[in-house]
Amino acid sequence: MRDMDETRVRQELFELVRDVDVAPGLERRTIKRVRRQRVLNATLSVVVAVGLIAGVAIGASSVLSTDRTPTIGGGGETPLPSVGVRPFQGIWPETDATGLADTQAQVDDGHQPLRADPVGTAQLLAVNVFGWPPGEFGADHVDVREDRATVTVVNPTFGDPVPPITVELAQLGRTGPNGVWSVTGVSSPLIEVNRIGALHDDSFTVAGRLAETLLDPTRVADSWAPTGISVEIVTGLSPDSAVSGDILPLAETWGWTTPPLNEPAVLWIEIVDDRGRALGATAIPLPTPFEQVPEPTPSASVSEPSPVQPPPVDVTAVPPATAETARLIYDGVLALDFKLLASLLDPNTFVHNADDGSNPIPGWRDDPTVLDAIPAILTLPPTAPLEIEGYGTLYLWPYLVDSDFTNLTDRERQDLAFLGFSGRDIDIMVEQDHYLGPRLAIDADGMWRNYITGGE
């Protein structure tokens, strides 16, 4: 071995690993972790919106209240926007009075007879919006009261786990036998919208929960499989009028942020299956313009705090330099101000997911969703100071990093739920005896030292 040439090195290296093989059970453990990680990724991808909305809606201090836990119920009971300007109540097909007048003229000329019938209009919605093939579904319940109607449409091919979708309709122009019916609301027990509103002047956020039955593989039938949550803001009739939209991964809690509009629009949220059909749908007319959402007056209920103030970063009991960095990280992430974020860390020593010693900023710039979890975790307290050799005193957010998962307190469980983790996710962490979610560290001098989105 003294005479080390390349050929000899090759031989030695191959000899060294001659009997190295995959350990028994490694495949099972690895695949299990992969599947679990996918669950966590799906959850983490919506953490920030849920956290922010929870903070905006009820204040950081009341986030931990068990009263916050929503129940899956009819969409009509969700806290829909109650402020703003929306002159036309229709959300489909027409979204303004001019469009409705045009349709009424066509109906008067003998065209579009289904539009003069609430059930017919609901069926058109099912075909054109829900993607249900004609003949595959029916109207389960019809309640017509003068110029208002409620129709539930059901697709029997989905089976019991998928309940009917409720369609609210109204005659918004002419009333009576030949008046055109318009859809004014759509809701499904599968989708709950917890909160919707303007987060800042430059962003609009919606967040909610899905029924657990959709996430339970044992309840999913062979004939359908949910693949994602479609969220879209639509301003008109055609598909081109979808001004923004996304497909979110399936998760018990979800959230979505988009730039606000200054024109009437409708938010459509659908759970779509692998054939593009809607298993559940909710449509919400949006107040416009969002910037006009008023802040509460002093006489407003304490349960309705300002919708424009972000939750405070929890910097209690940390040094001033650490606190300042935490606040700047929070602000930088919300604003996606990468210049600011870069100024808070040393790329040569910063630890992040890439694990390759590289500067994290380019990667974050390419995929800023990596940062989504940060505002939420900064609203929780940090750990007690930790002395790490070579790194000095570190404060890790959230404090759950240092929790004893074999003996979780109610508060810790509530905080994990606040971060968006389902009961199943928490069980996994208990099993692993580790916090597996996102965490970051800031040292006592205010240097941002790491950010890991998940894992052990």
């Binding site: 390349e6 350990a23 489909w92 894992g455």
Partner: protein, 171 residues
């Protein structure tokens, strides 16, 4: 509104693909990780971490057919950073839950090579393993390590010098 956006693939659509990828690539990944870490238990952890990291986001890979390329690069990156990461994140945990670092059975002559490899700096070890075990060109090694070709040459050269020195000392 018509839902026409691209649908994300789900777990249900994997159809055993995860298991297949693991079975095809795990043996070679384990051997590579062992060469880079010198410890079987650590190699297992590293392979597991790499698969989790990669398969967890497999749908996002630009070229899933190049899975081994991604996996190899991930393993190398993880191995290079493991000590730094542990310092930051787990040093204090390790004191609470010490884990035995079992190097594996005594392999005699082979163990001398293993120990010699472990004296190299992580980037030297990675460069030598990629060049002479994975049989990558200098250019491919540079790409895998994310460093210039010139740096690969100098790193391999210094690593080889160090290997000779260590093995001659052992002899």
């Amino acid at each position: 509104m018509v839902v026409t956006a691209e649908r994300p693939r789900t777990e249900r659509s994997d159809g055993g693909r995860l298991e297949e990828l693991f079975r095809v690539h795990a043996p070679e990944a384990t051997r590579l990780a062992f060469l880079l870490t010198g410890e079987r238990a650590l190699a297992e952890d590293l392979v597991q971490d790499a698969f989790v990291k990669l398969l967890g986001r497999f749908r996002d890979l630009r070229n899933p057919d190049a899975f081994w390329w991604y996996l190899r690069r991930t393993i190398v990156n993880l191995s290079r950073s493991q000590f730094r990461r542990r310092k930051v994140e787990r040093a204090w945990l390790a004191t609470q839950r010490p884990e035995a670092a079992a190097p594996g059975p005594d392999l005699g002559e082979r163990d001398r090579m293993r120990r010699a490899l472990m004296t190299l700096r992580p980037e030297q070890r990675a460069a030598i393993v990629l060049r002479y075990y994975e049989d990558l060109s200098e250019a491919d090694t540079a790409e895998a390590l994310g460093i210039p070709i010139g740096t690969v040459k100098s790193t391999v050269s210094r690593g080889m010098d160090r290997l000779r020195e260590e093995l001659s000392r052992d002899a």
